[in-house]
């Protein structure tokens, strides 16, 4: 040992008053230094010493955080929320990689084959990604601990919202980055945002009634059907599809607001295993 913890710091440590980062240094050092442990024993009362050892034991036992958890904790997310999010399938690398690949391909197509005034393919696809991400982050189909989570004291709606916000922020963030890669379209390339919120909120609200598979499937199907109808109805090929016009954006905003209201009213339904019980 080339250094030892100062006796005053050891007294503070024993009283539980030593602050980070000195606390972390002392924890690490005490695990390896018998001399400092001896001094600590001399200056500590037994109760405080036991508490110190317990804290040290806990630090040594604490699992090493994965990449996602570490990132979240560094961003200020409480460690228990980070652990809940680490269990979300669609926040794992493989899922995110698939989403990024899809967006890159769509953006590449939009840039290689310029489409009239709006990047229609991108705008059609982008709202579906958050919808799918949220749908795949909760429910018995993809969450292996779903049944344990349902009967846990934490309200199912709270867990759903924690995961939804994380998935939504990730999905919207990736969509936003993809939008930046379409500078030629200006703000028109952002016309996916309100439909994305409307689809995700509607999917969640219907999940309370129809379950986590049927509800987003219906919403996604309805979105594609709407786009096909809009495509058939537009006057000229250069016109944007109706959902990407100002009026369409207004409708999307209204649908999103109504769906959020319905979701709040139905939140207790997420606290029960109601849709696929055997």
């Amino acid at each position: 040992m080339t250094w030892h913890v100062d006796e005053q710091d050891l007294r503070a440590y024993a009283r539980g008053e030593l602050a980070a980062p000195m606390l972390w240094s002392a924890d690490t050092h005490l695990a390896a230094c018998g001399r400092c442990r001896g001094v600590l024993a001399d200056v500590s009362d037994p109760v405080a010493l036991d508490a110190g050892w317990e804290r040290l034991d806990a630090e040594l036992d604490a699992p090493r955080l994965g990449v996602l958890e570490s990132l979240l904790v560094r961003c200020g997310v409480p460690d228990h929320i980070a652990r809940l999010l680490a269990a979300t399938p669609v926040l794992r690398g493989s899922w995110l990689g698939a989403v990024v690949a899809l967006l890159v391909m769509t953006v590449a197509v939009a840039n290689a084959v310029p489409e009239t005034s709006t990047p229609t393919l991108f705008l059609a696809l982008a709202p579906l990604l958050p919808l799918a991400g949220v749908a795949l982050s909760y429910g018995p189909a993809l969450d292996p601990t779903y049944e344990m989570a349902v009967v846990a004291p934490m309200h199912g709606f709270r867990l759903l919202m924690i995961r939804t916000l994380a998935v939504l922020a990730t999905g919207l963030g990736l969509n936003g980055l993809a939008t930046l890669a379409l500078p030629g379209y200006g703000l028109r390339a952002l016309a996916w945002l309100l439909p994305a919120l409307a689809l995700t909120a509607t999917g969640l609200a219907l999940t309370a009634r129809l379950g986590p598979v049927l509800a987003p499937s219906l919403v996604g199907g309805a979105w594609i059907a709407l786009l096909l109808v809009a495509h058939a109805e537009r006057a000229t090929d250069s016109d944007p599809l109706a959902p990407f016009t100002a009026a369409g954006q207004g409708v999307a905003a209204a649908v999103a607001a109504l769906a959020v209201g319905a979701l709040l009213l139905l939140r207790d339904r997420f606290d029960l295993f109601t849709w696929s019980a055997e």
Binding site: L84, M148, A277
Partner: protein, 286 residues
Amino acid sequence: MIPTVSASGLSLRYGGTRALDDVSLRLTPGVTGLLGPNGAGKTTLLRVLATAVPADRGAFTVLGHDPSTSRGRQEVRRALGYLPQSPGFHPDFTAFEFVDYVAILKELTDRTARHREVRRVLEEVDLGDVRGRRIKKLSGGMRQRVALAAALVGDPGFLVLDEPTVGLDPEQRMRFRELIAHAGEGRTVLLSTHQTEDVAMLCHRVLVMAAGTIRFDGTPAELTERAAGRVWSSTERAPGAKAGWRTGTGTFRNVGDPPPGADLLEPTLEDGYLLTLDGAGAEVAA
């Protein structure tokens, strides 16, 4: 004795199937076994009592809390440990991380206190040494113990175990029985199982379910007693037996109504169980 769980008239239909039909029961501290064939309604009953699924009719309380309200349901869940039939895991989690995850769902948000509790329950199921190992690298028996540890987080007063010994080899099953017996000291455990040996070795009381109803409620000795005088041996398979099979000695062991002068055998819990199911519309393996 004040019951931990008191239920009356629980009924539940799925589509056209009556999964639970007017089930009433009272559970007291100790291990209560729940026997029944596939489709008897065991898992449904456990899910209802675990507050995962609401019953269509009837009511129940757990430690005095009524789960029909949101607040009461949360109180029941705070007193509950639940090991589902097929516990799922996040395979990339270590045993410690998984139990830690469940502890967070059980509202243990203080990191130090939560990690202390995680260490305690992992030690209780004898997995302290492998707490840092990824779950996908653990054996089936160890995974079941991880799931049991997760159920034990928070020292619940009511523990619901849905067929926890399925798929375990005899040694693992025996080890798991020890853990269940230990878990049943001072708390109420409801153990669903297909294994009559589980009930014989662990339970102070047994319920037999068939077609959504409770067909028997008593002690294992009382269930065994149902087969007294109704088990006999013969050199040929007895045509009138409800069930009969050739044993290792070459003679047939028959369960049912014996012919006059039959060579009666000492009944087992399984014999009593088979005879209880007979007439309940359930198949009796021959």
